[in-house]
Structure formats: C-alpha cells, structure tokens
C-alpha cells in the first residue's frame, strides 16, 4: 500500500519530527522575547563545542542508553516498562551496597561486582510488577508507575535511616572507597588526548555501548529473543507455539529492570561516588522517549540517547549563559518527546502523502 520506503521511515521520520519540535521551540522562544538562533548557538557550543561539553553530553547519553535499552527489551515483549526510574534508583542502592561493602582493591573488580549488583537490584525491582502481570494480569504500566513511587520512598528511608553515616547532614550514603572509583574518560589512555579536563563521562559509556550490541544480539540472534519478540507481537500466537507467556514476561522484565539498574554505575559509581537521593534524576523516564525515538532498536537508542544528552547538556548551558529560564530546557525536551514519540504517526502520514504524490507524479510522467 502507501508505505514509506525503509530508509525514509528510519531517517526522515525522526528528522522531520525533530524539525517540527525545533520550529515550535523557536516560536516559544520568540514569544518570550528571546532569540532562537542565539539559544541554539549556546546549546550547540555548550554541549558539542568543546571536549568539556562533550564530556557532559556523553555522560547523560550513557544513562539514557541504559534506560532506553531497558524500555526497548520490554517493548519487544509487548510490555511497557514505565518503571525505569524506580529500577534505576534501586539499582543505585545495589551499586552503593556493593561499593561500601568491601575496601575494593581495584576499580575493575569493583566495577564487575557493582554492575552485577546494579543489574540484580534493578531486576529484582522489576520482578514484582512482572510477576503481577504474568500471574495476576495486573497491568504492567500501572504497577511499574506505582513502583517508582515506592522506590523513591524506600530510598528516602534507606538514605536517612540506614546508609547515612552518623553526623552527616544530608540524606546520602558515605563516599565510596577509592578502589571503587571509576576512571573518567580523561583518565583513560587515548580518550585522555581529547578530554584534558576532568569530565563526568566515564568508562561506563563503553559498557553502555557494549550492552547495546548485547541487546541487539539477544533480540535478533538468540532463541530467547525470538520468543520475546514473538510473544510481544502476539500473545495468542505465542501460546499456540508453546511459548510460555509467564516465563517470557518475567524474563523480559528482569532483563529490562537489570538494564535500567545498570545505569547507576554511570551516575552513582562513575560520577557522584556516593548514593544520593533521586540519583536517577528522571533518566528512567527519558529512556521511554529515547526508545520511542530510537524505534526500539539498540542502534537507534544510542543515537537518540546522544540527542537527549545534547538537549540535557545544552539546556543546562542555556540556564548558565542566557536569561532564558531553565524551564525552557524542559519545554524543548517535552516538544521533542511529543513529536518523536506521540506524534510520530502524524509525521509519518504527512510523509506518506508526500511520497504518494511524488510517486503518482512520476507515474503520470511515465504514462
């Protein structure tokens, strides 16, 4: 029928969506008497204009890759995991417990253990909604949202009453031991040539990229991925094929929660070096937009995560260097989410019409 060619579907749709978001953002800026071109220049300069800016952009992108992949895996199983935020925070708890438990001799050992801890805790937090969905039919969207709140409340308790060192005033854990501190990009040979000043982006970036490859292989090369995708496309058909819905729901959510939890090695272990309240700072929710924009493909997720990293860092720069209120950053991000996520079909329809017009014009000329 009137379908878009694959290349247009993959590249043109997100780009045109972005363009729409940019145009409307510009109009909003104009309406408050600011110059959109100036704002764009500040954002690009701040986020991409220097190694330092890149250091922040990549740092944010790292978190978004994890949470985006988390949403992607669940999505392919037909599950909408909105609980990335809570899973990431509980994953942070896992990281903190691992890091504080031993005087780690070397960061490599600590990283391996903390990654396992983060994934385990994140997965455990996703396990309950998964079980409720699989066995009781409680809708995963509702339960994962509720679990975000429960996670936030739990973290307050843990940080205030359990992990807070006596005498410390703020709700946070103790600082991690030196052996559990991760090298930032400026500490890694090779990267250090580019990043000469300390940046928050750290070794976790490479783990995030590796996980993107792992998730791709899982979904499209393994038997488990085949079953996840089949189940996600049609539960009735999966039942016919003897694919156990309970098993796939739980496994997919465990993987998803584990990935969301793993983002904590980036922010908790790699950057803050202690566990703070609200450690994930909304990255769990951004993951939904990242997965939507990345068309639920790991490669797309990486690209979308970079874009959102840019928006995060560029937005922060706006607050720093212009009189544009910091809330504008949220407006711009909201518009990008709106257009790339929610209004995706609208953009596609417009493009489909255009393509159909071009096609019929060609047909007329040929005739």
């Amino acid at each position: 029928m009137d379908r878009l060619p694959r290349w247009a579907d993959l590249t043109l749709v997100p780009l045109v969506s972005l363009l729409f978001a940019a145009v409307i953002s510009a109009l909003v800026l104009l309406s408050i008497g600011q110059s959109p071109t100036e704002a764009l220049k500040v954002m690009i300069d701040g986020a991409l204009g220097s190694p330092y800016g890149w250091g922040y952009t990549l740092y944010y992108a790292t978190s978004f890759i994890f949470t985006g992949l988390a949403v992607t895996v669940a999505f392919h199983a037909g599950l909408f995991n909105i609980g990335g935020e809570g899973q990431a925070q509980i994953g942070g708890l896992g990281v903190a417990l691992v890091c504080l438990s031993l005087p780690w001799p070397h960061w490599t050992v600590a990283l391996a253990a903390a990654t396992a801890g983060a994934a385990l805790f994140g997965a455990a937090w996703a396990a309950i909604p998964a079980y409720l969905q699989a066995k009781r039919g409680s809708h995963i969207v509702i339960t994962t949202i509720m679990f975000n709140y429960i996670a936030a409340a739990l973290m307050v308790y843990v940080l205030v009453d359990v992990l807070r060192p006596t005498g410390q005033m703020d709700p946070a854990s103790a600082r991690f031991p030196v052996g559990a501190q991760l090298p930032a990009l400026n500490d890694i040979p090779g990267f250090s040539l580019i990043f000469q000043r300390p940046v928050p982006a750290n070794i976790t970036l490479l783990i995030a990229l590796a996980m993107a490859v792992v998730v791709w292989a899982l979904l499209w090369r393994t038997r488990l991925g085949y079953q996840i995708r089949a189940f996600g496309k049609s539960e009735a058909a999966a039942k016919y094929a003897g694919i156990n819905p309970v098993r796939i729901t739980i496994i997919a959510m465990l993987i998803s929660g584990g990935l969301a939890g793993m983002m904590s090695i980036n922010n908790v272990m790699g950057e803050a070096e202690r566990l703070l309240q609200n450690s994930s700072e909304g990255a769990g929710f951004i993951g939904i937009a990242v997965a939507l924009m990345g068309r639920n493909h790991p490669f797309g997720v990486v690209l979308a995560a970079l874009l959102f990293g840019f928006l995060y860092q560029g937005g922060a720069e706006l607050g720093l260097w212009t009189s544009i209120p910091i809330e504008m950053r949220i407006v711009v991000q909201g518009l990008v989410i709106l257009f790339t996520g929610a209004l995706d079909m609208m953009v596609r329809m417009i493009l489909e019409r255009l393509f159909a017009l071009v096609r019929s014009a060609k047909a007329v000329r040929a005739a």
């Binding site: 379908r3 089949a230 016919y240 094929a241």
Partner: protein, 531 residues
Amino acid sequence: MAASADNMGRQATAAPFAIELKGISKAFGPVQANKDINIAVPKGTIHGIIGENGAGKSTLMSILYGFYKADSGQILVGGQPTPIPDSQSAIRAGIGMVFQHFKLVQNFTVLENIVLGAEEGALLNTSLGKARQVLKDLAQEYGLNVDPDALIEDLSVGHQQRVEILKALYRQADILILDEPTGVLTPDEADHLFRILRGLKDQGKTIILITHKLREIMEATDNVSVMRRGTMVATVKTRDTSPEQLAELMVGRKVLLEVEKTPPAPGKVVLSVQDLRVRDEHGVERLKGVSLDIRAGEILGIAGVAGNGQSELLAALGGMTKASGTITLNGVPLPLSGPGSDGQSRREAGIAHVPEDRHHHGLILDFAAWENVAFGYHNDPKYQKSALFMDNDALRADTEKKMATYDVRPPIPTLEAKNFSGGNQQKIVVAREVEQNPDLLLIGQPTRGVDIGAIEFIHKQIVALRDAGKAILLVSVELDEIMSLSDRIAVMFDGQIMGMRDPASTDERELGMLMAGMTGTSDAKLKKEAY
C-alpha cells in the same frame, strides 16, 4: 397485487437498474484493486458477485458503501448519478450492508441495536417504540422473526444475521449487500437465509450477494458477475452457467473441484481421546466429554457450525488450553494440564497443528517468512547454531526450500508474512507443519480465505500425508470440504459429538441435522434451540 406489479414494471422501464457502476477504478499504491468495473444490477433481482480472495469484491462493495472513494468512475442509483462519499450517503441512497463480521453490540437488545445510529431525538423511548412497531411489520412482511427484547449475545448466529438485515431494512434500504453471509451458518440456516432473501426480492428489493461459494451462487442468484484480479471478467445469467464454468472464470484456468483420493488404508490407532472436557475463562464447559480415535492413514473430519467446540478440541489437543480427560498418542498418555501440556511438548510428541486462525495463531504477521517457518519449532536442533544462538542462515535456506516445494509466491523468505496473500500465508503454515513429518496433524479450516488454486494444492498435501500413513484431524465449517476429504466424519454440536458417519453413506441433509443438534432419525428433537 397485479396492479402493483404493473406499476413496478412501469418504473422499471424508467429506471431498469437498481444500481449501476460505470468504469469504477481504485488503486492502493501500486496495487490496482478495481480496474474499470462495470455492473448493472436490475431492480428486484438477486445478483451474485463471485471471485477469489483479493479479486477486489470487498473493495468494490466498500466503494459502494462509501468506505473508500473510487479513483474514477460513476455510481448510479435508480438511474441517478449518486456520489457516495460516506456510509451515511449510502444509507440515504437506500443501500444497506450486512457485513461478514456482524457489527452488533453484544450486550444490547435487538431493538437497541436496530435504532443504534438512527435514534431520533434525545429520548430513546420514542425511537424504540417506533422501531418496535416497524420491526413487527417487517417480521410479518418478510418472515424475519426475532424477539426484539432479546440480548444479542443470547441469539444464535443465524438470528444475529437477521438483526443485521433488519437494521438495513429499518433504514429503508432498497438495495441490500450481503458479504459472505453463510460463512457462519448451518446448511439449514443458510437455506432459511436464502428463503428470506427470495422473500425480499419478491417485495421488490434488490440484493447483492458476495460469496466465494459456487453452490450458493447457483442456488440463490438470478445473475452472477465474476471478478478476477480487480477486473470484472464476466456477467452471466445464473441459469445459463455451471459451477465448473464459474470456477474457470474465477481462476483463469481449469480447476479440479473434486479431491482425488484413493480408499484409505487405516492402520493402528494413533490418537485416542477419552472424555475430553474444556472450560472457557468464564467457567462454561465448551467441550463436554468428547471421545474419538484416529488411526494411521486416516482423515477424521469434524463437521459443525463454528463455535460448537471444534476450536476447543483443536486447542486442547494442540496444547493451547487446559483440559481434562485422557489423550494418548501412539499409546503414550499426554498431560492435559500443568507441565508438559504446552504446544512445545505436543510438537515434541509428534503432533503438528495448522490452526484455524492463521492471522492470530499460525503466523506472526510482522515477522518475515523465514522467522515464521521456525515458529513453534524454534527449539528444533536443526535451527540452532549453538546453545545460545539460532542459525538464521540455515533457517532462511530451509524457508527457500519450502517455498519452492509449496510454490509460495513471491518466494522471498525475508518478506513479512502480512505481505503474502491468504493462500500463500496458509501454504507457509502448512509447509511448516507438514514438513515436520508429524504422526498426527491437526488442521483447522485449512482453506478459509484461500483461493481456489491454493485450495486444490493444500487438499493434495493433506491427502498425501494421509497416504504416507499419518493420522489427520480435519476441522472445517465447509461441509463440502469435510465430505470430500474425510475418511470418517464426526459431527459436533454444543461441545459434543453427535454422531460418526461414513462420507460414502451420508449426505448434507443428514449432517446438517446433526450439526443443528438433532440426533439420528429415531428421536429427531432439537437439543438446544430451534433454527
């Protein structure tokens, strides 16, 4: 009466055609669904439109009912050019449509469904009262008896269809379009429907009957138009044609309408089912103690109106639903609930299953053909590269081979399943299941929505598998298919087997009685509900 007939005759000279289509064309992208279609349907006749799936029948009717806009061409209603941009205009022009899948609100009464969308004023009572009166008149006039206060969900399928017809008549339709109306009916109900249609015709209504069943065309219509690949290939008087000629026009080549098969040579019992019971999610028993045996080299056909437990029988045997009772395959008992009762275990035991609904069960429509070829057999060692990874290359090669043997078109393993025609989709499913060389093949509605050419092919495969000494359980609502393929016929009604018959010594009438719940000749009484 004579006067009114005369009057109609005079009208007929002014506008001899109830509906005329002139040069209708419609394309979806590169696909030309309708190409320069011309039809003229005389007033007060039953006009059949026949064609294979994808021939463009449904598109044409959707244009007539305002769902699609034709790219070019003209519609004349009663001699007047009438543009039909939406279904409201179609209704205003006196066109009524009875869809294949009823559009009724299940928990509304008959009356409420009839006024739905035609309510006059803010208060429901006035229009309900009016509808009740009109309904009474219509029931008298056409023999369309339905209890106006019954809930739709309590009505049989045949009655639901009558409600659809009444809906159209209530909106004063003069031209009634019926899309595959008999797919869900017993032969008896179908006969009743045709009697109603003849009654409507006698009252001056014009009826367009869309079907792929040659027998119905021959039985019910005055004229028939044949469509093939978007074009109208012929319009003939029904009495001047034959099923063979129509089939040839539909397919474009000579077709074997009969299945060629040798007498069966049944061997040992492969599947034995004792007292099989299935409850649905509401706790209602859908399968009420079914017992049967199938032998090697035998096709057991299950006849019955859709919804009488056949689907549950297939689902229970195929491991799709929990059941109680016992089943043994080659003497080995298989669990019916708990571990080992899922589809995987059934496949490992040697049961292959071509499900009734290939879109919802048999295929993942968004998956490529090669991914669908592994569906259900994704754990098969021949598709694995290692403990972790699947061997996608082997799978694609295997798909290519199967596509060649089964003449799947286009033979592109990477094409998504949804992009194949119904017949080719079914060939992919049949290829997947039959090529596993199972001991028992469960096959439901093997040719539903499949074109005649593919039907011929699929029937041959089923018979070939039987001749290779395999047991086959065939479920179909097409009585012709059951009669021509089966070596034994079991008739199901209301979750039970009403009787076993030998196809050589039974006929449609007897099977039809059993399908309606009437057992044998001695105690011919209705088991559930009068039709």
